[in-house]
Assembly symmetry: C2
Homo-oligomer: 339 residues x 2
């Protein structure tokens, strides 16, 4: 293994001079800099990450804590992960991926051992077990997902309340007066998936204000259960002319359900989902949707995290809770209700 000592020797300078020539933190003559650069190239030198981390207390690695639950839609999580990973790399950080089911213990492990300069937590629950660990850790963190207590945390999430209102308003404006909202499975709620009831409660309230009947139900996460549920909902509420989906699996299942019933959107039924554009393209979902913007959220979280990591004063600045305003992507699946 070639070390900075080898480079220094080849360039005929001391180790410290070689280090300064590479970092540029002190002025170095053009000639020496050249000799060092040549030696680096010739010997193929790359700094040892462990040694550098030890000396500088910076690892240039960000921990990414993802949780994969059986009843959630894994491909959706992937979008967040890629958003985080891409942004981190742009800012010269690598990603330590942690998928252990015991997120709190894993978080303690990687922070205590100083493997990472900061962490991004995905899929944050209302009362997330990882948060006490994060608050006690010396490294900063950023969340994607809104917990019950945001104190001393940087939090990024879609504005699910606004999303719920937007869905209802959009349908109301088109003339719909009876809607069905399919949320995530109740398990997700029990585990503290606050976004489910944030959207649902806001939608119910808005429906009340607008004088719209809204049937809100918890969904399923897998086929065929979710397909059967959609079918039975359409049976039970024949007067409903619009369907709101805060549930990726339901959105993915809906096309064949509609087909089977001989229905089409928006002629027979207006539909709005809540999922990312990437998701829509992958599964070719023809439904208009509230964009859940996983890439944007991942990007925002990493940017804020890196700001805190790199600037000492940013460490003590007040923490931010930032909501991304939902945007409705019109794919033409909503219209006035059939007469």
């Amino acid at each position: 293994m070639v070390t900075i000592g080898d480079v220094a020797r080849a360039a005929g300078v001391s180790r410290s001079t070689a280090s300064y020539a590479l970092s540029g933190k002190r002025s170095i003559s053009a000639e020496v800099r050249q000799r060092v650069d040549d030696a680096v190239r010739e010997l193929g030198y790359t700094a040892n990450a462990g040694a550098r981390a030890l000396a500088t207390s910076e690892t240039m690695v960000i921990g990414l804590l993802a949780q994969f639950h059986e009843d959630e839609f894994a491909p959706a999580m992937l979008q967040y992960m890629l958003g985080v990973s891409d942004t981190a790399r742009e800012l010269d950080y690598d990603i330590l991926l942690v998928t252990e089911s015991d997120g709190a213990r894993a978080l303690r492990r990687i922070t205590d051992s100083r493997m990472v300069d900061g962490v991004v937590l995905l899929n944050v629950a209302e009362d997330d077990k990882r948060l006490p660990v994060l608050r006690a850790a010396p490294q900063p963190g950023a969340l994607v997902g809104l917990p019950g207590d945001c104190s001393s945390l940087d939090v990024f999430d879609l504005d699910f309340e606004e999303a719920g209102r937007m869905m209802v308003d959009h349908m109301h404006r088109l003339g719909h007066r009876e809607l069905i909202l399919v949320s995530q499975p109740e398990h997700v709620v029990e585990r503290g998936g606050a976004y489910v009831w944030r959207l649902q409660d806001a939608a119910l309230e808005q429906a009340r204000i607008r004088g719209v009947r809204l049937h809100a139900v918890f969904g399923e996460s897998k086929q065929p259960a979710v397909g059967q549920l959609l079918n039975s909902l359409l049976d039970t509420h024949p007067g409903a002319t619009g369907l709101l989906l805060n549930n990726e699996a339901a959105a993915a299942a809906l096309p064949s359900v509609l087909h089977a019933r001989g229905l089409s959107a928006p002629a027979d039924l207006s539909v709005i989902g809540r999922y990312s554009d990437e998701f829509a393209r992958t599964f070719s979902l023809p439904f208009s949707s509230i964009e859940s913007a996983p890439d944007r959220l991942g990007r925002m979280a990493v940017r804020q995290l890196v700001r805190r990591i790199e600037s000492p004063e940013a460490r003590n600045q007040p923490h931010v809770v930032r909501f991304v305003s939902p945007e409705l992507v019109d794919r033409g699946s909503t219209a006035a209700p059939p007469t």
Copy 2:
């Protein structure tokens, strides 16, 4: 930050004794061991990963190189990633996730800087640019996916040739004499996705042997293109009674295509796909399939990699190329052709 020096002082011993008490690499009196353990617990000591890596030349981190191409099905990749990640953690390794588009450069970066003890390469292409870098690296590596030249590499992949033969034989046995095989998009092939032609060539050869007509076409990776393709294929080959899919997107799109045409499997058309069981459950695909076993492959790759990392003699043992035998998961979508 609490160091092993703090622990040693609290326990009233030297740093080296504290280290030996924790590692157990030399005999230590029960009393001292107890005092050290107490000090560790009291102070909340965790070894600094960078310092340990520097001293031992082991990082306990495995690099995971994943490539996400626009025209491949990202959710499928996730299954491999999780298989690798879970197995690595069982063996006490963490995962450094690398998703850069320039995989070769990224690989050089993490190996040269000694951030990882070894790497797993996913989605390996016929003439993968990362392989020269891996061969030159001091760390061992394991591949998931078969390159053209496997020399001095540990390689794990599904036996796609056998999968192709199995698909054809299965259909032939049921009485089918004209089949359609939909592969991945041609882009994937051009990029060196050998598994596409490995399955296709073997299927064509087997069809020739069995006297079956096989129409092999490259597919699309997204809707609506893939749906339209399926439709036009069924139009063009009205005599085909069986459909073979080596293309996740096509499998996901098929249910609504069948619905639209008023067909059902296996009554009107027999269908076999090639995808993981997890994939089938997530999208509730009702089609029998060759299990692509991403979890098993990820697991095998990591186990072999860790073997090489941890045992000095394993470093020089001959490299392995191991194919997982395809298994047909019967979901009831194949039967004798309609009379």
